[in-house]
Symmetry: C2
Subunit: 339 residues, 2 copies
DNA sequence: TAAATTTGGGGTAACGATAACCCAAACAAA
DNA sequence: TTTGTTTGGGTTATCGTTACCCCAAATTTA
């Protein structure tokens, strides 16, 4: 109502309501005894003035801000976006706001961002695949605020972690293709340096090698992008003997693979079956709907939130590792081989 | 090094360095005169202890947190993800961190979130399409922290805004299709209630009506999802006389449309041309690459950041409205009509 | 030599909210 | 009437940082 630059404080509310600051604070936080009449006057004053608590002050005093931070490499990748969404949902359920901060895979930024958040802006932190070195993680372990690592496969740490399995999920996908009669199964890898991508590739190699079906020539480098999948698949499709199925290290990669197959005039799954990984929302919306391996991001987010809450409650969480199995979701992009 | 629960403060650093808190503060902020020797001792102590400034305290004192907040309906939508990415990039360039908060299109949440952020956690706010009512926006206008509205088309406000045009962009797309000889042009709308979707539809109607080509039967309801586009397109493809082109209100919708066309055994663009809207990253990565209307999100983010910086510098920004033209990007999904 | 300036650094208070404690008044019990 | 208890609410101190002001020593200037 007055100056645009006049932040409204407890004192303003107290003055208008004719009580002390403490009474206002107690009213808003439901601590202490307040008579009904006073409570109403206070609430009216709060509403009239449009007062909102200053989280910085509350945090400084030792209280909570009600904000959790999430540090994530990027948002444009559907998988990360989905992880962020799940975490925000869970946080919201638990009465927290989730602020998502991207690092653009830049270690310095990652570190700076986390430092800022820990510096009183957030009550806790969800850190997705930090590339951080050991010293950095050590410094995180010392932090006052609870921290949970998500999908971390790097250096050892005592910080609690939540992970999704990649190895067994990939294995299930390959076994599915084998059971459909496929023998020449191509693979488009994920980005170099991704530990999850490495796990998926390892699984592919081991399962096929065990069957005597491993052909290194059927492995092509992707990068988790659609274009990467497209180009890798195009190479596979120029082989003298075509693969009858292609396993892509991510759903987005699989979309590129499907594009390439269709571009070549072939059909999915009639000519070539395709399996993805992640089960991003789009996977079930494309045509043919994508057979893929689902990372249980919702369950992971739930577990991560629980760890945060446990830490708030001073339960011991150090060295906790919760790993979720991934699950094969069979849709329309895979089919028994044509005889 | 010591207790895990011992946040390190200026006082700790000061003690180790053998100086006062103020000297440490001055050193870190480059204010005041500090001798070279003292500076080095302080910096060493900071590094040894792993000190990070407590942003809450700094904010309370009247300083900046270095964090900007962005409030956005959701993250899973590629368009919003792209807007968030652009904003984060720009913020980063200007030395800020950007925390992204989703509202899940829930007005209460939106309001609560913004309140929290304004309460000392963020120095400024980028608010994307708030569904807020007038009273709420009024309360935002009173805020101490700078706020910029992005793509807001709702109730009037004095808050500075950055927008992307939808009307002219859609017009350019339709004119493009007309110039290619298309006369039966289908339209798949966006979500009900989206002001941008409404603009695009209005443009479609007006341009085609002006040519005497408007056929309400060629308009189908979408919802900005791929499935929505798929189903709407399937309806269009069952018309006795097929459209030769389909304009989708978003790229994601267009992907669904393309799926439906291919599913029907038809080809894009040979049988039916498709145009999207937004130019999300995937648009250029699919095959055929999507002809679409680009929203200049990077430029918008840049303008929004500039407004925030201007507000910091006490320049007047009230009632500023910056509108960016959208731009037709012609790729492979459109083609002259077959004769 | 005395006065003025610079250099380097510290003391104090304040930002806004709240936990812990305290204090009146009103009422009940003995 | 006296003591004890509840009710309703205020006082004080504190979180970590920094703006403002002050002070002592060193150096320069008159």
């Amino acid at each position: 109502m007055l100056m645009p630059n006049s932040p409204i404080t407890l004192a303003d509310v107290a003055r208008l309501a004719g009580v002390s600051k403490i009474t206002v604070s107690k009213t808003l936080n439901n601590t202490g005894r307040i008579s009904e009449g006073t409570r109403e006057r206070v609430l009216k004053a709060v509403s009239d003035l449009g007062y909102v608590v200053n989280s910085a002050a509350r945090s400084l005093r030792g209280g909570k801000t009600g904000v959790l931070g999430m540090v994530i490499p990027e948002l444009v990748s559907p998988y990360f976006a989905e992880v962020a969404r799940a975490a925000a949902d869970e946080a919201s359920q638990c009465g927290f706001d989730l602020g998502v901060f991207t690092t653009s895979r830049d270690v310095t930024k990652e570190r700076a961002r986390i430092g800022t958040l820990l510096g009183g802006l957030a009550d806790g932190l969800l850190v997705v695949v930090p590339s951080g070195n050991e010293k950095f993680l050590l410094s995180l372990e010392r932090s006052r605020a609870p921290i949970v690592l998500i999908n971390h496969f790097g250096v050892q740490t005592h910080l609690p972690m939540v992970r999704a399995d990649s190895y067994l999920g990939a294995k299930a996908a390959i076994l599915h293709l084998l059971s459909l009669g496929h023998r020449r199964i191509g693979f488009v890898t994920g980005a170099v340096g991704s530990s999850q991508a490495a796990e998926r590739l390892r699984s592919y190699r081991e399962v096929l090698a065990a069957q005597g079906l491993l052909d290194e020539n059927l492995i092509r480098q992707g990068n988790f992008t659609q274009r990467g999948g497209f180009e890798a698949a195009r190479e596979l499709l120029e082989l003298p003997e075509l693969p009858t199925a292609i396993f892509a290290a991510s759903d987005v990669t699989a979309f590129g693979v499907i594009d390439a197959i269709k571009d070549k005039g072939l059909r999915v799954p009639d000519d070539i079956s395709v399996v993805g990984f992640d089960d991003i929302p789009a996977a079930s919306q494309v045509h043919p709907a994508l057979t893929t391996v689902r990372h249980p991001v919702q369950a992971m987010a739930q577990a991560a939130m629980q760890l945060i809450l446990d830490a708030f409650a001073d339960k011991p969480v150090r060295d906790t590792l919760i790993e979720f199995p991934s699950e094969l979701v069979i849709r329309e992009s895979t089919k028994a081989i044509n005889l």
